[in-house]
């Protein structure tokens, strides 16, 4: 099957090797016989209803975020509509912040967000930098872990009743104190974890692919054929150990 990924502002938001996430999605789809087509989405592009099965937005420095935030927010209504029709999305770091309602930077200026996730972010004094380990349960009865690296000055506050992506086992998470990281709303995920995230957490790549396939077929997310993931497992274990031994410290 052919899946279409809308990669939002790839020239601007790519600071933490975001193309690693795209490479993992593309290869793991191909190994199951699906073709993933990645279409860049920039200021001059339109999001046509039903066109994209999955959206991806990566991280950027403050300057890049400032440069593209208005153009990204202008795509907000179309993105919201696409998600209501069942498209999936993954937003990482700076993109995660801009998927909320707003991001207030250190000088007090507010960047508009797209409002796909029920949260807002305010820049803090100290950067939260280090390895992170999360426990999450995207599907009931299937507990999993996510290992990655965070580097953010923003403190992200989830609205009442919003669902975090995971519980922090080691690391800072959304704000360094709530004990939670990321946010999930249906098929839309946001997180500070890069590393990049998907190579060492292949189960999440497969979850996203299954959601994208469900959008394409209009059915339920399919069970994907398992792949040999020994290297991925090793990389995950090392990253998780790093988080346990040195995550969450200023």
């Amino acid at each position: 099957m052919r899946l279409v990924v809308g990669h939002l502002f790839p020239d601007y938001l790519n600071i933490y090797a975001d193309r690693g996430n795209i490479a993992v999605l593309t290869q793991r789809a191909a190994w199951r016989g699906h073709e993933l087509e990645v279409r860049p989405l920039g200021a001059d592009d339109r999001v046509r209803p039903g066109e994209h099965d999955l959206f991806y937005v990566g991280g950027g420095q403050d300057r890049e975020q400032e440069l593209i935030a208005p153009a990204l927010a202008a795509l907000g209504p179309a993105l919201n509509e696409a998600v209501e029709r069942g498209a999936a999305a993954l937003a990482v770091c700076g993109g995660y912040q801009l998927f909320g309602h707003f991001y207030r930077d250190q000088s007090g200026d507010e960047l508009p967000g797209v409002g796909l996730l029920p949260l807002y972010t305010v820049a803090g004094e100290r950067r939260m930098i280090g390895d992170v380990l999360l426990e999450c349960e995207l599907e009931p009865g299937e507990p999993r872990t996510l290992a990655g690296f965070e580097n953010h000055a923003g403190r992200t506050v989830l609205e009442e009743g919003a669902e975090p992506l995971g519980r922090v086992v080691a690391g800072f998470g959304n704000d360094g104190e709530s004990g939670y990281e990321g946010c999930r709303s249906g098929r839309v995920l946001g997180t500070y974890l890069h590393g990049p995230l998907l190579p060492r957490n292949p189960w999440l790549a497969d979850w996203l692919l299954a959601q994208a396939l469900a959008h394409r077929t209009g059915g339920e997310p399919p069970e994907l054929e398992p792949l040999p993931d020994e290297l991925e497992g090793e990389a995950h274990a090392v990253s998780a150990d790093r988080a346990r031994s040195r995550g969450g410290r200023y």
Partner: protein
Amino acid sequence: MRGPLALEIGLARVAAGLSRLAGTGGGTTLPGKLLWKLDPSAVDRLAARLPRGSALVSATNGKTTTCAMAVEILEPSVRLAHNRAGANLVSGVATALVEARDAELGLFEVDEAALPEVASRLSPRAVLLGNLFRDQLDRYGELELLAGRWRQLARDLPPEAVLVANGDDPQLGEIAMERPGSVVFGLDDPRHASPTLQHAADSKWCVRCGTPYDYAAAYIGHLGDYRCPACGHARPALDVVGREIELNGLESASFELLTPEGSRRVELGVPGLYNVYNAVAAAALARALGTPLDSIQAGLQGFSAAFGRFERIAIGDRQLLTLLIKNPAGANEVVRTLVAGGAPSLLLVALNDEIADGRDVSWIWDVDFEPLLGRLERLIATGERAAELALRFKYAGLPENAIEVVPSLEAALDRGLELTPPAGELTALPTYTAMLALRDLVARRGFVKPYWEEAA
């Protein structure tokens, strides 16, 4: 506390000797750390004793090599104090000052983040700003913050100091334009430009108005001949230029060095466009310090290689070629140079994640390793994050059965040498601490001296 300088220096020198005796390292930073603890202002006073002042060199990429080239140029005519072995924080500079007994001129490689502090203490007569790329964001924070600190540093320099800056880097060109009398260097040879901006290019947007630059030529990452189509911000006029560049694979490079005093053909014994940048930078600095053009040419041509950056070591009947990788822009140039020299079929890549390597290893996904895949038959992935590195190549399309994950560096080196035919060469791309460890392994087997004895 402010003590008698001679006593403090004496104590610090004893500490360096003890450190070496104890075998805990080269004592490359310990004396400076001790001096720093005893009396931070002693560093300023030590530097003030240098009759011909100090020059500082900083950059994300190439600062060790540029500094080593400048040493080669200057050493015949002036007694230098300089920090060996990349000990480039305040403590390393302080150590070099303690140990330089009768030096006339200080020439120091300085870490990007430490540069403002070192510059304010040393009151240098020249500061060289080489380039700024994304590197160790976990340690330095965002690139813009670092650029902002450098801009302030340039404003705070004493009026008689000379700023030497790479005009091909938009951030640094802007800093140079703010300071009249700056010496601006760069390259002019569009034959060596990349067809497109590399993935890892950083300062792609106009530093003044945010519009993407138009590049007449982009040489390395965002370094090149840029102009903003909206506000007109463009590369400043170049004072010292490298042009008519010839690259000879993995062996050497040559270029014409053009200065206001005339031009010389320079034959370098090290390869790659990045080394041409380093050489032009070293030439611009030496010129700012009053060195004649003939001495600059002779020094550059006499230069071999800075430690671990491009180093061939004979191990029995085989050779080990070591090329340091530490961030996307630098690693891309290493890959480009390897490919130009006929890419290897066997490659050892060592990824560590200590502080000096960057604890965040995501940068390996921004390196364009792909041009190596055409000829690569076997990858030995080693170091603390060997598995992550293996994934980088697996998802680039290298078959899993062509990848060996050997986390132990020693086992990986042995495996690599075993797979190298007699008289053949093993190519190794280590990150910083992996490079030190690899060199240490080779030294223990008696093939190379410890780094504090010979490194430049």
